[in-house]
Amino acid sequence: MSDSLDLDDLQGLIARGYGKLPAASYLLLHVEDEGPARRLLNGLLNAGSVTTAAQPRPPRAMNMAFTAAGVLALTESATMPAGFAEPYATGMVTGHRSRLLGDLGANDPDGWHWGGPHTSPVHVAVLLYAADEAAMDGWRGSLVADFDAHGLRLLAALATSPLSNREPFGFRDGISQPILAGLPAPDREGDIVRDGEFVLGYTNEYNQRTERPLLPADDDPHGILPRDPDGSGCADLGRNGSYLVFRQLDQDVEGFHAYLDDAARVGGQVDEARREHLAATIVGRWRGTGAPLTLAPEHDDDALAAANGFGYAELDAQGLRCPIAAHIRRANPRDSLPPEPGTPASREVNRRHRLLRRGRAYAYQDPENGPPQRGLHFQCLNTNLARQYEFVQHSWVNDPSFAGLIGVEDPLVGPRLHGPSSFLVPGSPVRRRYDGLPQFVTVRGGGYFFLPGIRALRFLTSTTGLT
């Protein structure tokens, strides 16, 4: 039951991160007046303004996604159609989900700038990409004016830094990405993962189609939506869509650097080699070139810059080169987990928990002359929020017992719910403990969005009263 991706019906963000468009801006909108809002969004769609995966090098790009509240508001519906993923339908902010995602303490949604319980509900995210800031400015300005005139109130326009391959702490970012089996693969190393892990309505790593909303055919009398490829006759609202996880993550850049300097200070002097090694063990890659510690355990190595074709089982099962708690080893354990590290069986398990990352870094000056605020607008795409994003966040990144660890948090992004953390750096004859790691990354906003296929977008902007 494999079928090829319908690129004309996929929003472009699934196929690419728009690396050729360095300027990006994310508009978060609230639907105030649903009729005009539908007409406007539908008009943008009909004008071809929404970028599809079939456009390889667009001069600028726009994609859009909706929260569950947004789908209800836009379509004037009382309840969500069955078949949407439960985390999406109930939202990122529930008591249980906050426990699950580590959104407690400093990460508590109570303090979020957007998406939390005390801010206006986000309904629509419009993601804009342009060649440069000047092109972005004019385009964004006219769009925002249009939105405002059509019942779409702007809650936030999230700016991003000009695209670079470094995140604010100075590390190379976005090196390891799953490759969709159905997309033409660029020449790079990585796991090939079945389309259904990232696009709804296709076969996933369980060789099944992930749960998605299927509507009675009568609900789509004009045949806007594709039909269920399994032949049920249902209108397939999910097909060619995906779920977008969006989290604003503030990074304490000064705090991070200060911690590294303090920890590497020997007799008043910062030992740079030691500092860079500590930084590398926290992440799992050297800050300079992105060479993985697993391949380059002693020092950074240009020849291994951003190398990605490696596993942990053979070279480093015990975490003597790259600590098991290091951020990239948690976020993508590759071949190191049960049932049998180093085998295809282990890699198969890993492929069920991959995320297609699309986020960009940001930096802005606090309006009240505070310190510059830097961070990451983390975005990832997946089709099974519970098995992919939430699993990775809870059971791999945040779990102090990950892979047999005993009370060791993620040194880079972990929430410090029990105060400052400690971290063990491998050494001979024994590891060295670094104490007092503060929280370096703080969640400032977030939401789960549905990034519909183009036909589903047309349906959602022309339909009322979903059931």
Binding site: Y206, Q208, E211, F391, H394, S401, P429
Partner: protein
């Protein structure tokens, strides 16, 4: 009244702010032999047979020693707590004395058809000792008092061992872990070989009936129906109130066994086989490759018309379910495909739990909220406990080759 009882069960959580905490009056923390305990309410139901089953309270405990001794200790230690909880049950003695309480509790005991223990014979005392050894070793390493740069791993290990043994309360470190004990081991061995011998002798005679039986099962499978759609959100929310608090979670579920002799007998045989496997093959450190379960039990109730499955596992329900789908779907199917509404299986082992979404919805739908969940070591996964034991065993080894991997565990 069921609602009053519910309030009592949740009183511990209300008082401490930690959902699932047991009612303080039971003082479960003071029992030195209790690993896990849980309490939950099964709502009144009408079974498919037409039988009316009133609401009932279930108490489960994983203990060192026997169930009978555990109940005696519980009653002796917290009679008021026992009254507060079980006093809501029909037939519980009025103005009870300890002996009445105990008689009543024992007469309401159900034996599981199969029972899994992550590591048989590892007592709570051993776990606590080994956890203390581990943290003490960590502290010694951190202090730098023993380890100096340039020392070889064997010397460092010997130094750490010496430093630990100098402290009081660690003389047991030099001994091997006690294990289940000689009596249990002899009995298990006899049971294993006795059963295998019996199967070997009876095997040829059983082949034909077994083949016919499998065909019969396949025949009834053709008329199976499965539940569809997602579970009710309010039910999911209620179950989740008590989930993802510590490192471990309770899984508690109940379901009806499909009607008819074929299903009943198949379920019974499958549970017997499972019990056999748990006793002889899974009792070291995993349940058929799944290392995240501390204890699990399968308990037939209502004369076998329903089955309770309960486990204490590490991580989230999502990771737990994925472990089962990818590693153990055949075993899950063998037992649970005899349950009403389970995703359709073929030949008893194929299909079924492999249907990811249907299986996950099925489990959620059949979960029972667990308002009381006690763990004596809430921060430690089963794999953590295994590591504590490995460190304890490894500290005594003399061969040089094992010294470096041992140090890497600290």
């Amino acid at each position: 009244m069921v609602s009053t009882l519910r309030g009592v069960l949740e009183s511990g959580g209300t008082a401490t702010g930690v959902p699932g905490a047991p009612p303080g009056s039971l003082r479960l923390h003071d029992l030195g032999h209790l690993h896990f305990a849980r309490m939950f309410i099964l709502d009144a139901v009408t079974l498919q047979s037409g039988r009316e089953i009133p609401a009932s309270l279930v108490y489960m405990a994983d203990v060192d020693g026997t169930a009978g001794q555990h109940l005696a200790d519980l009653v002796a230690q917290a009679p008021a707590g026992v009254d507060e909880v079980f006093g809501h049950c029909e037939g519980y003695p009025q103005l009870p004395e300890d002996s009445h309480r105990l008689t009543w509790l024992r007469s309401h005991t159900l034996a599981p058809a199969a029972y899994y223990v992550h590591t048989a014979g590892r007592t709570l005392a051993q776990i606590q000792d080994e956890a203390r050894l581990y943290s003490t070793l960590q502290a010694i390493v951190d202090s730098g008092e023993v380890v100096t740069a340039g020392q070889g791993p064997p010397l460092v290990r010997a130094g750490l061992r010496h430093a630990v043994l100098r402290r009081s309360g660690f003389s047991w470190v030099t001994k091997r872990p006690p294990g289940p004990g000689l009596v249990r081991e002899v009995r298990d061995t006899l049971h294993l070989y006795g059963t295998l011998a019996a199967l070997l002798i009876a095997g040829p005679l059983l082949l034909l009936p077994a083949a016919i039986w499998i065909l019969l099962v396949r025949l009834v499978e053709l008329t199976d129906t499965q539940e569809t759609g997602a579970p009710d959100q309010s039910h999911v929310d209620e179950v989740r109130r008590f989930e993802d608090i510590g490192a471990q979670n309770p899984f508690t579920a109940v379901g009806e066994v499909k009607a008819g002799l074929v299903r009943r007998v198949t379920m019974r045989v499958a549970l017997a086989g499972l019990g056999f496997a748990c006793r002889h093959s899974f009792a070291r450190d995993n349940l058929a490759g799944v290392t995240s379960i501390h204890f699990a039990r399968w308990v037939p109730i209502d004369d076998g018309e329903r089955l309770i499955f309960a486990s204490s596992y590490d991580g989230t329900l999502e990771s737990y379910m994925d472990d089962f789908i990818s590693r153990l779907s055949w075993g899950i199917n063998l037992v649970f495909s005899n349950g009403v509404g389970f995703p359709r299986a073929r030949w008893l082992v194929f299909g079924g739990a492999r249907d990811e979404i249907s299986y996950k919805h099925y489990l959620r739908r059949h979960q029972v909220p667990t308002p009381v969940f006690f763990s004596a070591y809430p921060a430690h996964t089963a794999v953590n406990l295994d590591r504590f034991t490995a460190v304890r065993v490894g500290i005594n080894r003399q061969d040089d080759a094992s010294a470096q991997p041992w140090l890497a565990q600290l």
